[in-house]
Amino acid sequence: MELKGRRTILGNLAALLAAPFFMGRATLIRALAPAAKKNSPLPPRISLPAHSVKRRG
């Protein structure tokens, strides 16, 4: 294995594995996973209609 290439890859890997200990897990999770937006809009609420009459079901 080429010495220069192996060093680069191992160095990158070490940096990536060490990142959580410096960034903090919460920051890492937010960076990787979709974050909930602040003041996110009301989610839709599915409920049955109160006085409707169904045809069949």
Partner: protein
């Protein structure tokens, strides 16, 4: 069928057989379908790539250790009795659309609506509905829906909003200042009663009901000749001859008219007679494409044509009517004119003349005159709400600018988009102290209003609607998704604020009014009410209205008006087939639905005749500058075969500036309207010059070509009578015949009945979770519709004949796609279906390559995975949502087949003919699609497939498709060559 097949073409490129067209026909995928961005990443070595993969895996493992964001699945401990998981509930309701309403049946699963069909118990609709009704379920789950009131751009409670509104109204009343209420049209008598109560409590209220896209000629003409505003609904069951003056009655908006018209288009054996449709129009419409005899005539000359017909008809004129001598239009051959007169005279009261809504008043008067002279029995008279016109809006604008109004309330209208001078409107609106907007999706008009009140979607709301002798009910099919209220409840809140006695909510108001004014008979009201909600409608005592006496004195002036001709170009503005007046602009299903004639999606190109385009040196997509009385518009053109010379056509409802989907799509044509013109939708003296550059129009007419073979059969009645049925081709095959022990599902599609309205496309999209892909992807040929309508032209570019052919997976017995799949993801079921195992597919696309019908759709990108609530709530849980890299196609609605089989088994009986109705067949207003068991000799599908008109597409390929097409038959007055 003619013994030598004429040449059918789908586009001008195909007709001209340009090298590009020939190459496109040869290539499986369009240029750009496999764009460079889709190619594998290059420029990295395998070693580095594996290194990156290792690092990513390590990081992902760390991220996966997180325990936050956990959720729980909680089953019902007290299940609502109406909800059985896995079993759908159906509710009857009504879809309101301005001056029309449609009685519908809404399918819900686990409490949420997922599919809309027509109300099967409605005596007229019989289970059919309009395409926009089917698609509007998407608007219920639009993520941009307003979720609560807003005051000065900030969220507010309803209590605060009502306080602000009522204070403003009370102040206005005390000061004696006027209040403007601008709404859309409505067919609801209860809403009208409520607004009448509001007017009584607030005498300074000025209410205008406005439909911006419909044109004003019909109302003006009805008032002139009948003395009142009325609506004439076509009743075509017994119509022998139908003459259309620019009337597009087959565009899907009137399913009853479509069913009645096509009921006489299925000649049984032996072939007897058919009705005959004559169409005179400028742009080629869906109705024109189904005509037996069509002549392109500029819309400005249709009135003169109508009066000339009345003069030459030889029947007595109504009292007081005078017609000066008018020559027949020069572009109508004398023989055709003679035959038209002969047809009308012989049909008598079985003839009817229909005039398009966008036509000028004089054309409508000519149609009324002809119907009166013929004593036509093919029209039903219905009262119509007098609507405000543009001149009324302009007067209101001036009043706003002068400070007349203390408050303005906009409910269900978007004047900033639809009023021709939006700048002047906004400037005038700024002078009104209190501005209130009530609607579903925040639009251009909401931006100028301080108080924004979100209303229920119609699927969440109560209402009633007049439908001739019926009164249909609208009931919620789901509880309100957000903190919204019904628009009528805003009115009730105003009434309470004024100190008037008002019901607590609109349901109570409706219930009480029905108890008082609608309920008749011995049945107790509560039972009557429950039955009405169950059925979706009640029959009323309303008698059929008689047509008022015709005022002949109006004819002379209108006939004089008809003599005026247009300048170089005339522009016809018509409501968008998909977006209507813009209200559906945010609906992806409708934006991506190909226009039935132009096959354009995601936009509104300017349609121009081929001759005019050649003269100006224009091709599809070239940009032009349109100039009308100082107003200019830059947009792309689309060459339209069959369009009259000198006529331009443009759809309204595009060019929105608000809306995640609608924004930036197409151009807004409303600013071109001249407010002082008596016919706003028909604009004369339009100047057209070639502009700079091109815009790619995403249209589908060249996609999925089955090139150069015997695809459609079309003939005239006279020629068909001479044709003998060819025996089935005896094709040798190496494959063993498949055995179907129990059922063999098949389909028959009648091309005579199919009008090309594309309702089936939307129904399939709704039922089978078919995704939309957007304009860029459509331009690459990646649209995902499982069923498409291929539109074929035949004959000259100036006036071609048109045939529409629905094309879907043919479920071939010897399917070419099944043999080439390397992982056996597609195979054949014991009941004749070509199946797809989505999770087995690895995406080689070899099956699509081998399919001669080009009906397989590949998920090139991840079109669905990003969708979260509320968008994902529209999905049908019975159908898999397909991810990226997977092939999909029509399954004959296998979920409905399985459902019917399970029911039959539970009831210990065989599956009966008619138990299974795929979504496309259920939606088709002309019942052109029939599904059933080909192993049952008594089933309708088997009987139809054996008729003389039956043929299979690409039979010579030997795939043995399970779909039989019935040849299109027309009933022209003049045979080809005459």
């Amino acid at each position: 069928m003619r013994e030598e097949q004429p040449h059918y073409w789908r586009s001008l490129e195909e007709r001209g057989a340009s090298p590009e067209a020939l190459q496109a026909a040869h290539d499986e995928l369009k240029p750009g379908t496999l764009a460079p961005a889709d190619s594998p990443v290059t420029g990295i070595s395998r070693r580095n790539f594996l290194g990156l993969v290792g690092a990513t895996a390590a990081v992902a493992a760390t991220a996966a250790c997180d325990k936050s964001g956990k959720a729980f699945v909680v089953p019902y401990t007290k299940r609502p009795k109406e909800v059985v998981p896995g079993v759908a509930n159906f509710y009857a309701s009504t879809f309101p659309e301005g001056t029309r309403s449609y009685s519908v049946l809404v399918k819900t699963r686990e409490g949420r609506p997922i599919h809309i069909t027509g109300n099967d118990e409605h005596p007229g609709l019989k289970g059919k509905t309009s395409p926009r009704a089917l698609a509007d379920i998407l608007r219920l789950y639009d993520p941009e829906r307003l979720r609560g009131p807003k005051l000065q751009g900030h969220s507010a409670t309803w209590a605060d909003a009502e306080k602000v509104l009522n204070t403003a109204i009370a102040n206005a009343k005390q000061a004696g200042k006027a209040i403007l209420l601008l709404t859309g049209a409505s067919t609801s008598p209860t809403r009208k009663a409520l607004l009448a109560e509001l007017k009584a409590a607030l005498p300074t209220l000025e209410h205008l009901a406005w439909e911006p896209a419909l044109g004003e000629g019909a109302q003006e003409a009805a008032t002139a000749v009948f003395g009142t505003s009325l609506q004439l609904k076509p009743r075509l069951e017994n119509a022998k001859v139908i003459l259309s003056l620019g009337a597009d009655f087959l565009n899907g908006e009137d399913p009853e008219a479509i069913a009645a018209f096509t009921s006489q288009r299925r000649p049984a054996e032996p072939v007897k007679t058919m009705n005959r449709l004559w169409v005179f129009e400028g742009p080629l419409s869906l109705t024109g494409s189904n005509a037996d005899q069509r002549f392109p005539v500029p819309p400005s000359r249709l009135a003169a044509l109508g009066f000339a017909l009345a003069k030459d008809l030889g029947l007595p004129l109504p009292a007081g009517a005078q017609l000066a001598s008018l020559p027949a239009p020069a572009d109508i051959p004398a023989e055709a004119w003679r035959k038209l007169l002969e047809d009308l005279r012989s049909a008598g009261s079985g003839a009817v003349v229909l005039c398009g809504a966008a036509m000028p008043a004089e054309a409508h008067v000519a149609a009324h005159l002809l119907n009166t002279m013929l004593e036509s029995k093919c029209l039903e008279v219905r009262p119509a709400e007098p609507l405000a016109g543009l001149r009324d809006l302009e007067a209101a604008r001036k009043d706003m600018a002068s400070g007349k109004y203390a408050a303005a309330i906009f409910w269900g209208v978007n004047p900033v988009h639809a009023f021709p001078d939006a700048e002047a409107w906004n400037a005038a609106l700024a002078k009104v102290t209190t501005r209130v907007w009530v609607g579903l999706l925040e639009d251009e008009s909401a931006a100028g209003c301080a108080l924004v009140l979100p209303e229920h979607h119609w699927l969440e709301a109560w209402g009633d609607h007049e439908d001739g002798a019926l009164l249909t009910l609208q009931q919620p099919t789901v509880g309100a998704l957000y903190d919204t209220r019904q628009g009528e409840e805003v009115v009730l809140a105003i009434l309470r604020g004024l100190g008037a006695a008002a019901a607590e909510d609109y349901r109570a108001y409706l219930h009480d009014r029905w108890a008082k004014d609608v309920h008749r008979g011995p049945v107790p009201f509560e039972r009557f009410w429950q039955a009405a909600l169950h059925d979706g409608f009640v029959k009323t005592d309303a008698k059929t209205l008689a047509l008022p006496a015709f005022r002949g004195d109006a004819v002379k002036a209108m006939a004089e008006q008809a003599r005026k001709t247009s300048g170089a170009f005339e522009l016809m503005l018509r409501p968008g087939t998909q977006v209507f007046d813009g209200r559906y602009g945010n609906n992806g299903w409708l934006q991506e639905l190909p226009d039935p004639i132009t096959k354009a999606t995601w936009g509104n190109p300017l349609a121009i005749s081929v001759a005019d385009a050649k003269f100006l040196g224009l091709q599809d997509g070239d940009r032009v500058e349109l100039a009308v009385a100082g107003r200019q518009l830059s947009l792309p053109v689309l060459l339209q075969p069959g369009q009259a010379k000198g006529v331009l056509a443009l759809a309204l409802g595009y060019g929105r500036t608000v809306g995640g989907v609608a924004k930036g799509i197409g151009v807004n044509a409303f600013p071109l309207i001249d407010m002082q013109s008596p016919c706003p939708n028909l604009i004369h003296d339009v100047k057209l010059t070639k502009g700079k550059g091109r815009t790619q129009i995403p249209f589908t007419q060249n996609h999925h070509r089955m090139d150069g073979r015997d695809l459609v059969h079309s003939s005239s009645l006279v020629e068909f009578a001479k044709v003998k049925k060819k025996p089935a081709a005896d094709l040798a095959t190496l494959y063993p015949d498949l055995q179907f022990p129990e059922h063999k599902w098949g389909m028959v599609i009648d091309l005579s009945a199919c009008i090309g309205c594309s309702t089936c496309v939307l129904a399939c999209q709704s039922e089978n979770n078919v995704t939309t892909v957007g304009p860029e992807q459509v331009a690459k040929g990646r649209e995902m519709h499982w069923i498409r309508i291929d539109r074929y032209y035949e004959g000259s570019e100036e006036n071609p004949r048109v045939v529409h052919q629905p094309m879907l997976c043919q479920q071939c017995d010897h399917a070419p796609c099944e043999n080439v799949c390397p992982v056996n993801a597609t195979n054949h079921s014991p009941d004749g279906l070509n199946q797809m195992a989505y999770n087995r597919c690895v995406g080689t696309r070899y099956c699509a390559n081998n399919c001669p019908y080009k009906v397989r759709r590949f998920n090139f990108l991840e079109f669905t995975a990003y969708k979260t609530e509320p968008e994902s709530l529209v999905y049908n849980p019975e159908v898999t949502v397909r991810p990226r890299g997977v092939m999909e196609k029509c399954t004959f609605c296998v979920q409905r087949i399985q459902d019917a089989r399970i029911r039959a088994k539970a009831e210990n009986r065989p599956v009966l003919d008619g138990d299974i109705v795929p979504a496309c067949a259920a939606a088709c207003p002309s019942q052109a699609i029939v599904f059933g068991d080909l192993k049952d000799p008594k089933s309708l599908v088997t009987q139809l497939s054996r008729t003389r008109r039956g043929y299979k597409v690409l039979e010579e390929v030997g795939a043995r498709p399970a779909i039989t097409y019935l040849a299109d038959l027309k009933n022209p007055a003049l045979e080809v060559g005459e």
